[in-house]
């Protein structure tokens, strides 16, 4: 039953998270991150997590909170430069990092969610990223094999949802969220506004509810800005 997807607390579903789990987390920088779920994960205290996310937040917000709490064992990301705790844990060997080109990361998550185990791309050929990967030529050009990613769970942030888990995102807060939704064995969405079934125009839905197992309506989103840049008049 569709309305069974609506949860009122992350505690209702967190029994499904074990230490050592792989979590795919939506967001780009601090934009479109599942901020309520991250706070709840910190409370729950699960450890040794592998987190697949484009970035790792900042020291005091987003995934940086889980780093500070020593809950992350490994990050799979394309850019992690905004975070001093990250640097400290990486250099001490506490934190393992797999750097993946951003487009390859997006496609690996999309592929994982679409049942595609791997794909070939030119991205990374001739660079340290290609080391140890299968190379194959197509029409005289060299490509490398990259594998799809599937997560035990995915955490995503939307703008509006209905109780079926249909989701609409807002502006560039969409980013990795629709892909993460596809690639979680269990996907937990949080949104700023829950509307009734039928209130979202089916033409405008970005993530169909089939990908979403649980949906939570958050309140008082902080939506922090990493680099507030304004026009100089």
């Amino acid at each position: 039953m569709a309305t069974g997807k609506v949860i009122y607390s992350f505690d209702d579903v967190f029994s499904q998270i074990q230490d050592g789990a792989t979590l795919i987390v939506g967001g780009f920088g601090l934009c479109g991150i599942p901020e309520k779920a991250i706070l709840a994960l910190r409370e729950k205290g699960v450890k040794d997590l592998t987190i697949v996310s484009n970035n790792c937040g900042v020291d005091d917000w987003g995934l940086g909170l889980l780093l500070a709490n020593h809950q992350i064992k490994k990050m799979i990301s394309s850019y992690v430069g905004e975070n001093k705790i990250f640097e400290k844990q990486f250099l001490s060997g506490e934190l393992e990092v797999e750097l993946v080109p951003q487009g390859t990361l997006a496609e690996r998550i999309r592929a994982g969610g679409a049942g595609i185990p791997g794909f070939y791309t030119a991205t990374g050929v001739g660079t340290p990223i290609a080391e140890g990967k299968e190379h194959k030529d197509f029409d005289g050009k060299t490509f490398i094999l990259e594998k799809g990613i599937v997560g035990d769970l995915a955490f995503i942030k939307g703008w509006k949802a209905d109780p079926h888990g249909n989701i609409i995102y807002r502006n560039t807060a969409r980013n990795f969220n629709p892909l993460a939704a596809m690639a979680g064995k269990v996907t937990i969405a949080e949104v700023e506004e829950m509307v009734g079934v039928g209130e979202l125009d089916p033409n405008h839905i970005h993530t169909p509810g089939i990908y979403v197992q649980h949906v939570f309506e958050g309140t008082a989103y902080e939506k922090r800005i990493e680099r507030r840049t304004v026009a100089t008049v």
Partner: protein
């Protein structure tokens, strides 16, 4: 003129009316300010926006609307939003006409290094490796020498590569080079610069385009 401004003013000439363009973080982002206002150019941001507008005024600032450098921006009329896989389908699929990117080193065969320095904290490549392999045309903008006066235009890159033989054109404060099947070619000099000065400050070997040679005489 400031070195960076000189590079930016030359780089903007690469942009043609009607193009879809991706500008890298840092100096390339500043090229946007110089695009002629009558041009219909769509700037792509790899976090999911085609049609980047100017920075917002104070009360327009929107946490849900940022560029790939994580700066708050606006969207132009006619812009579109999409997810990250779609964004890189545009890039990987050859739909971006031009990418203008910064560089740490460029080699005479068109190799580019711009993402990591061994021994320093590695922050990641972001979308740079995808862009250099996917965009129809890749133009690198960088200062010709480093702060120790050493050439950044090399015989071979010493830093780990971002992409192999991916640069089509290099623009510095001294000169403009193209990377062709015949090797690296000097095609333009910035104002007041001589071929001799470029040769002295360039580690890479290059040929001088016949047209530039004839203009010099």
């Amino acid at each position: 003129m400031d070195v960076r401004l000189k590079i930016i003013k030359r780089a903007v000439l690469e942009i043609e009316d009607g193009m879809n363009v991706n500008l890298g973080i840092g100096m390339p982002t500043l090229v946007a300010n110089e695009i002629p206002s009558e041009y219909n150019v769509m700037l792509q941001s790899e976090n999911g926006l085609l049609g980047i507008g100017p920075y917002p005024i104070d009360d327009e600032v929107d946490a849900d609307l940022i560029n790939a450098g994580k700066e708050t921006v606006t969207a132009v009329s006619g812009a579109s939003y999409f997810d990250s896989a779609e964004s890189f389908a545009m890039i990987r699929g050859g739909h971006i006409d031009l990418a203008i990117l910064g560089g740490m080193e460029v080699a005479e065969n068109g190799d580019l290094a711009n993402w990591m320095i061994p021994g320093k904290m590695v922050k990641g490549m972001g979308g740079a490796m995808d862009l250099v392999n996917g965009a129809k045309r890749v133009v690198v903008v960088m200062e010709h020498v480093n702060k120790h006066g050493e050439s950044k235009v090399k015989k071979y890159c010493t830093l780990p590569l971002t992409g192999q033989r991916v640069v089509h054109r290099l623009i510095t404060e001294l000169a403009v080079f193209d990377f062709t099947n015949d090797g690296m070619q000097l095609i333009e000099l910035q104002d007041g610069v001589t071929i001799k000065e470029v040769q002295e400050k360039t580690e890479a070997s290059f040929i001088v385009s016949p047209q530039l040679l004839s203009n010099q005489n």
